[in-house]
Symmetry: C2
DNA sequence: GTAATTGCAAATTATTTGCATTGCC
DNA sequence: GGCAATGCAAATAATTTGCAATTAC
Protein backbone atom coordinates (compact mmCIF):
# COMPACT_ATOMS: atom_id res chain seq x y z
CA UNK A 1 0.00 0.00 0.00
CA UNK A 2 1.10 3.53 -0.70
CA UNK A 3 2.46 5.61 2.15
CA UNK A 4 0.36 8.60 3.18
CA UNK A 5 2.91 10.86 1.55
CA UNK A 6 2.70 8.99 -1.72
CA UNK A 7 -1.06 8.94 -1.55
CA UNK A 8 -1.16 12.70 -0.97
CA UNK A 9 1.22 13.43 -3.83
CA UNK A 10 -0.86 11.19 -6.02
CA UNK A 11 -4.07 12.92 -5.02
CA UNK A 12 -2.60 16.35 -5.65
CA UNK A 13 -1.31 15.38 -9.03
CA UNK A 14 -4.65 13.81 -9.97
CA UNK A 15 -6.34 17.07 -9.08
CA UNK A 16 -3.76 19.15 -10.92
CA UNK A 17 -2.51 20.56 -7.68
CA UNK A 18 1.06 20.80 -6.48
CA UNK A 19 3.11 19.29 -3.71
CA UNK A 20 4.93 21.94 -1.72
CA UNK A 21 7.33 21.93 1.25
CA UNK A 22 4.57 23.38 3.43
CA UNK A 23 2.10 20.67 2.55
CA UNK A 24 4.72 18.02 3.07
CA UNK A 25 5.68 19.42 6.45
CA UNK A 26 2.10 19.66 7.63
CA UNK A 27 1.44 16.05 6.70
CA UNK A 28 4.65 14.98 8.45
CA UNK A 29 3.60 16.71 11.65
CA UNK A 30 0.23 15.03 11.58
CA UNK A 31 1.69 11.59 10.97
CA UNK A 32 4.10 11.87 13.89
CA UNK A 33 1.28 12.48 16.28
CA UNK A 34 -0.69 9.64 17.78
CA UNK A 35 -3.32 11.87 19.35
CA UNK A 36 -6.30 13.53 17.80
CA UNK A 37 -5.21 16.98 16.77
CA UNK A 38 -6.97 20.30 16.40
CA UNK A 39 -5.99 22.70 13.60
CA UNK A 40 -4.48 24.97 16.23
CA UNK A 41 -2.27 22.23 17.64
CA UNK A 42 -1.13 21.23 14.20
CA UNK A 43 -0.33 24.84 13.40
CA UNK A 44 1.80 25.14 16.55
CA UNK A 45 3.63 21.95 15.78
CA UNK A 46 4.34 23.03 12.22
CA UNK A 47 5.62 26.44 13.27
CA UNK A 48 8.22 24.92 15.54
CA UNK A 49 9.85 23.50 12.47
CA UNK A 50 9.15 26.32 10.08
CA UNK A 51 7.85 29.51 11.62
CA UNK A 52 7.14 31.03 8.24
CA UNK A 53 4.17 28.77 7.55
CA UNK A 54 0.87 30.61 7.79
CA UNK A 55 -2.22 29.47 9.60
CA UNK A 56 -4.31 29.71 6.46
CA UNK A 57 -2.03 27.20 4.78
CA UNK A 58 -2.63 24.76 7.60
CA UNK A 59 -6.40 25.08 7.25
CA UNK A 60 -6.18 24.78 3.49
CA UNK A 61 -3.97 21.72 3.71
CA UNK A 62 -6.15 20.01 6.30
CA UNK A 63 -9.07 20.36 3.95
CA UNK A 64 -7.06 18.83 1.13
CA UNK A 65 -5.85 15.96 3.30
CA UNK A 66 -9.40 15.20 4.31
CA UNK A 67 -10.57 15.24 0.68
CA UNK A 68 -7.72 12.92 -0.18
CA UNK A 69 -8.94 10.54 2.49
CA UNK A 70 -5.67 10.70 4.40
CA UNK A 71 -7.13 12.26 7.49
CA UNK A 72 -10.64 12.31 8.88
CA UNK A 73 -12.42 14.88 10.99
CA UNK A 74 -13.87 13.90 14.33
CA UNK A 75 -16.43 15.45 16.60
CA UNK A 76 -15.82 14.81 20.27
CA UNK A 77 -18.45 17.33 21.27
CA UNK A 78 -15.86 19.39 23.13
CA UNK A 79 -16.25 22.33 20.81
CA UNK A 80 -12.99 21.83 18.96
CA UNK A 81 -12.48 20.34 15.52
CA UNK A 82 -10.17 17.35 15.56
CA UNK A 83 -8.51 15.17 13.00
CA UNK A 84 -6.99 11.73 12.96
CA UNK A 85 -5.00 9.82 10.40
CA UNK A 86 -7.31 7.58 8.41
CA UNK A 87 -4.97 6.38 5.70
CA UNK A 88 -4.15 2.70 5.97
CA UNK A 89 -6.22 2.34 9.09
CA UNK A 90 -9.39 0.39 9.36
CA UNK A 91 -12.50 2.38 10.08
CA UNK A 92 -13.26 2.69 13.74
CA UNK A 93 -15.51 4.59 16.09
CA UNK A 94 -14.86 6.19 19.47
CA UNK A 95 -15.77 5.57 23.07
CA UNK A 96 -15.20 8.82 24.94
CA UNK A 97 -14.99 9.57 28.66
CA UNK A 98 -16.99 12.67 29.42
CA UNK A 99 -15.01 13.36 32.59
CA UNK A 100 -11.37 13.05 31.54
CA UNK A 101 -11.60 13.12 27.77
CA UNK A 102 -9.89 9.76 27.37
CA UNK A 103 -11.00 8.00 24.22
CA UNK A 104 -10.83 4.46 23.00
CA UNK A 105 -11.06 3.33 19.42
CA UNK A 106 -13.65 0.68 18.85
CA UNK A 107 -14.47 -1.54 15.94
CA UNK A 108 -17.54 -3.68 15.70
CA UNK A 109 -18.44 -5.70 12.63
CA UNK A 110 -21.91 -6.41 13.94
CA UNK A 111 -22.80 -2.74 14.14
CA UNK A 112 -21.18 -1.98 10.79
CA UNK A 113 -23.21 -4.72 9.19
CA UNK A 114 -26.41 -3.56 10.79
CA UNK A 115 -25.82 0.01 9.64
CA UNK A 116 -25.55 -1.19 6.07
CA UNK A 117 -28.78 -3.09 6.43
CA UNK A 118 -30.64 -0.13 7.90
CA UNK A 119 -29.46 2.14 5.11
CA UNK A 120 -30.53 -0.39 2.50
CA UNK A 121 -33.94 -0.73 4.06
CA UNK A 122 -34.42 2.97 3.39
CA UNK A 123 -33.02 2.75 -0.10
CA UNK A 124 -29.86 4.63 0.85
CA UNK A 125 -26.43 3.96 -0.52
CA UNK A 126 -24.24 4.38 2.55
CA UNK A 127 -21.00 6.31 2.08
CA UNK A 128 -19.78 6.61 5.64
CA UNK A 129 -20.91 7.01 9.20
CA UNK A 130 -19.91 8.39 12.55
CA UNK A 131 -20.62 6.87 15.90
CA UNK A 132 -19.59 8.23 19.26
CA UNK A 133 -20.29 6.58 22.58
CA UNK A 134 -20.09 8.93 25.55
CA UNK A 135 -19.82 7.81 29.16
CA UNK A 136 -17.55 7.46 32.15
CA UNK A 137 -14.36 5.42 32.01
CA UNK A 138 -13.45 2.97 34.80
CA UNK A 139 -11.22 5.56 36.50
CA UNK A 140 -13.70 8.41 36.49
CA UNK A 141 -16.59 6.13 37.25
CA UNK A 142 -15.31 5.49 40.74
CA UNK A 143 -14.84 9.14 41.57
CA UNK A 144 -18.51 9.94 41.38
CA UNK B 1 -45.49 12.65 31.84
CA UNK B 2 -44.76 16.34 32.30
CA UNK B 3 -45.07 18.63 29.33
CA UNK B 4 -41.85 20.18 28.07
CA UNK B 5 -42.96 23.49 29.55
CA UNK B 6 -43.54 21.94 32.94
CA UNK B 7 -40.24 20.11 32.76
CA UNK B 8 -38.40 23.32 31.91
CA UNK B 9 -40.05 25.27 34.71
CA UNK B 10 -39.20 22.44 37.06
CA UNK B 11 -35.59 22.40 35.92
CA UNK B 12 -35.23 26.15 36.30
CA UNK B 13 -36.70 26.10 39.76
CA UNK B 14 -34.45 23.22 40.79
CA UNK B 15 -31.45 25.23 39.67
CA UNK B 16 -32.69 28.38 41.36
CA UNK B 17 -33.26 30.02 38.04
CA UNK B 18 -36.32 31.85 36.83
CA UNK B 19 -38.96 31.33 34.20
CA UNK B 20 -39.36 34.40 32.01
CA UNK B 21 -41.58 35.35 29.07
CA UNK B 22 -38.54 35.17 26.79
CA UNK B 23 -37.64 31.67 27.86
CA UNK B 24 -41.21 30.54 27.53
CA UNK B 25 -41.53 32.02 24.06
CA UNK B 26 -38.31 30.46 22.85
CA UNK B 27 -39.40 27.02 24.03
CA UNK B 28 -42.80 27.50 22.39
CA UNK B 29 -41.19 28.33 19.06
CA UNK B 30 -39.01 25.26 19.24
CA UNK B 31 -41.90 22.96 20.09
CA UNK B 32 -43.99 24.17 17.16
CA UNK B 33 -41.32 23.21 14.74
CA UNK B 34 -40.99 19.70 13.42
CA UNK B 35 -37.68 20.29 11.70
CA UNK B 36 -34.21 20.44 13.11
CA UNK B 37 -33.51 24.04 13.90
CA UNK B 38 -30.38 26.15 14.00
CA UNK B 39 -30.00 28.90 16.63
CA UNK B 40 -30.34 31.44 13.85
CA UNK B 41 -33.65 30.00 12.65
CA UNK B 42 -35.00 29.87 16.17
CA UNK B 43 -33.95 33.47 16.70
CA UNK B 44 -35.79 34.55 13.55
CA UNK B 45 -38.90 32.66 14.57
CA UNK B 46 -38.86 34.19 18.05
CA UNK B 47 -38.42 37.72 16.74
CA UNK B 48 -41.50 37.47 14.60
CA UNK B 49 -43.51 37.19 17.78
CA UNK B 50 -41.46 39.48 19.97
CA UNK B 51 -38.88 41.57 18.19
CA UNK B 52 -37.37 42.78 21.42
CA UNK B 53 -35.81 39.43 22.29
CA UNK B 54 -32.05 39.47 21.87
CA UNK B 55 -29.94 36.88 20.14
CA UNK B 56 -27.89 36.30 23.24
CA UNK B 57 -31.01 35.28 25.11
CA UNK B 58 -31.74 32.68 22.47
CA UNK B 59 -28.26 31.20 22.78
CA UNK B 60 -28.45 31.27 26.57
CA UNK B 61 -31.86 29.62 26.57
CA UNK B 62 -30.85 26.93 24.11
CA UNK B 63 -28.02 25.99 26.42
CA UNK B 64 -30.42 25.76 29.36
CA UNK B 65 -32.90 23.69 27.40
CA UNK B 66 -30.18 21.27 26.43
CA UNK B 67 -29.00 20.98 30.04
CA UNK B 68 -32.57 20.35 31.08
CA UNK B 69 -32.74 17.52 28.57
CA UNK B 70 -35.60 19.09 26.68
CA UNK B 71 -33.70 19.58 23.46
CA UNK B 72 -30.65 17.86 22.05
CA UNK B 73 -27.93 19.13 19.76
CA UNK B 74 -27.23 17.38 16.49
CA UNK B 75 -24.33 17.37 14.12
CA UNK B 76 -25.27 16.85 10.52
CA UNK B 77 -21.79 17.79 9.35
CA UNK B 78 -23.17 20.68 7.34
CA UNK B 79 -21.35 23.24 9.44
CA UNK B 80 -24.41 24.43 11.31
CA UNK B 81 -25.47 23.59 14.85
CA UNK B 82 -28.91 22.08 15.03
CA UNK B 83 -31.32 21.11 17.76
CA UNK B 84 -34.28 18.83 18.03
CA UNK B 85 -36.84 18.26 20.75
CA UNK B 86 -35.79 15.32 22.88
CA UNK B 87 -38.32 15.54 25.69
CA UNK B 88 -40.80 12.71 25.61
CA UNK B 89 -39.29 11.22 22.49
CA UNK B 90 -37.51 7.95 22.27
CA UNK B 91 -33.85 8.15 21.43
CA UNK B 92 -33.12 7.85 17.74
CA UNK B 93 -30.28 8.31 15.31
CA UNK B 94 -30.16 9.83 11.84
CA UNK B 95 -29.71 8.68 8.30
CA UNK B 96 -28.70 11.69 6.23
CA UNK B 97 -28.59 12.25 2.49
CA UNK B 98 -25.36 13.99 1.57
CA UNK B 99 -26.82 15.36 -1.63
CA UNK B 100 -30.14 16.87 -0.64
CA UNK B 101 -29.87 17.02 3.14
CA UNK B 102 -32.96 14.91 3.70
CA UNK B 103 -32.75 12.99 6.95
CA UNK B 104 -34.59 10.06 8.37
CA UNK B 105 -34.85 9.15 12.02
CA UNK B 106 -33.82 5.63 12.75
CA UNK B 107 -34.10 3.43 15.79
CA UNK B 108 -32.42 0.10 16.16
CA UNK B 109 -32.55 -1.95 19.33
CA UNK B 110 -29.85 -4.29 18.13
CA UNK B 111 -27.32 -1.50 17.73
CA UNK B 112 -28.35 0.12 21.01
CA UNK B 113 -27.83 -3.17 22.79
CA UNK B 114 -24.48 -3.77 21.17
CA UNK B 115 -23.30 -0.27 22.11
CA UNK B 116 -24.05 -1.01 25.75
CA UNK B 117 -22.12 -4.23 25.54
CA UNK B 118 -19.10 -2.58 23.94
CA UNK B 119 -19.03 0.11 26.60
CA UNK B 120 -19.26 -2.47 29.34
CA UNK B 121 -16.43 -4.47 27.86
CA UNK B 122 -14.25 -1.40 28.35
CA UNK B 123 -15.56 -0.75 31.83
CA UNK B 124 -17.45 2.34 30.73
CA UNK B 125 -20.79 3.46 32.07
CA UNK B 126 -22.54 4.70 28.94
CA UNK B 127 -24.49 7.94 29.25
CA UNK B 128 -25.45 8.61 25.67
CA UNK B 129 -24.31 8.24 22.12
CA UNK B 130 -24.58 9.74 18.69
CA UNK B 131 -24.71 7.88 15.43
CA UNK B 132 -25.01 9.39 11.98
CA UNK B 133 -25.24 7.43 8.77
CA UNK B 134 -24.36 9.42 5.66
CA UNK B 135 -25.18 8.40 2.15
CA UNK B 136 -27.38 9.00 -0.85
CA UNK B 137 -31.15 8.72 -0.64
CA UNK B 138 -33.17 6.87 -3.28
CA UNK B 139 -33.93 10.09 -5.15
CA UNK B 140 -30.40 11.43 -5.27
CA UNK B 141 -28.94 8.02 -5.91
CA UNK B 142 -30.46 7.87 -9.36
CA UNK B 143 -29.17 11.24 -10.42
CA UNK B 144 -25.53 10.25 -10.28
C1' DG C 1 -35.63 43.27 48.13
C1' DT C 2 -32.36 40.80 45.78
C1' DA C 3 -30.26 37.95 42.78
C1' DA C 4 -31.17 36.42 38.15
C1' DT C 5 -32.19 37.98 33.48
C1' DT C 6 -32.23 40.86 29.61
C1' DG C 7 -30.70 43.52 25.41
C1' DC C 8 -27.11 45.62 23.54
C1' DA C 9 -22.69 46.02 21.78
C1' DA C 10 -18.18 44.72 22.07
C1' DA C 11 -15.20 40.73 22.44
C1' DT C 12 -13.89 36.00 21.30
C1' DT C 13 -13.02 32.10 18.62
C1' DA C 14 -12.57 29.57 14.55
C1' DT C 15 -12.20 29.70 9.98
C1' DT C 16 -12.14 31.78 5.28
C1' DT C 17 -10.85 34.90 1.74
C1' DG C 18 -8.59 38.66 -1.25
C1' DC C 19 -4.46 39.77 -3.06
C1' DA C 20 0.25 40.65 -4.29
C1' DT C 21 4.19 37.77 -4.33
C1' DT C 22 6.49 33.41 -4.78
C1' DG C 23 7.42 28.84 -6.45
C1' DC C 24 6.31 24.15 -8.39
C1' DC C 25 5.84 21.33 -12.57
C1' DG D 1 6.16 30.45 -18.13
C1' DG D 2 1.89 29.91 -16.25
C1' DC D 3 -1.12 28.57 -12.97
C1' DA D 4 -1.33 27.19 -8.27
C1' DA D 5 0.26 28.13 -3.55
C1' DT D 6 1.71 31.08 0.07
C1' DG D 7 1.62 34.55 3.89
C1' DC D 8 -0.48 38.18 5.50
C1' DA D 9 -4.13 40.81 7.12
C1' DA D 10 -8.72 41.80 6.77
C1' DA D 11 -13.27 39.64 6.58
C1' DT D 12 -16.74 36.29 8.09
C1' DA D 13 -19.40 33.49 11.01
C1' DA D 14 -20.91 31.77 15.16
C1' DT D 15 -21.08 32.31 19.76
C1' DT D 16 -19.93 34.45 24.31
C1' DT D 17 -19.45 38.00 27.57
C1' DG D 18 -19.54 42.59 30.26
C1' DC D 19 -22.63 45.64 31.98
C1' DA D 20 -26.30 48.74 33.32
C1' DA D 21 -31.16 48.46 33.52
C1' DT D 22 -35.03 45.45 34.44
C1' DT D 23 -37.83 41.81 36.46
C1' DA D 24 -39.28 37.35 38.63
C1' DC D 25 -39.99 35.15 42.87
Amino acid sequence: MKTPQEAFTQYLSDENLKMTPQRGLILECILEQTQHLSPEEIYDKVRKRDSSVGQATVYRTLKLLAEAGIIESLDFADGVARYEVAWGKEHHDHLICEACGKNIEIMDPMIEKRQETIAEEHGFKLSHHKMYLYGLCPDCRGKR
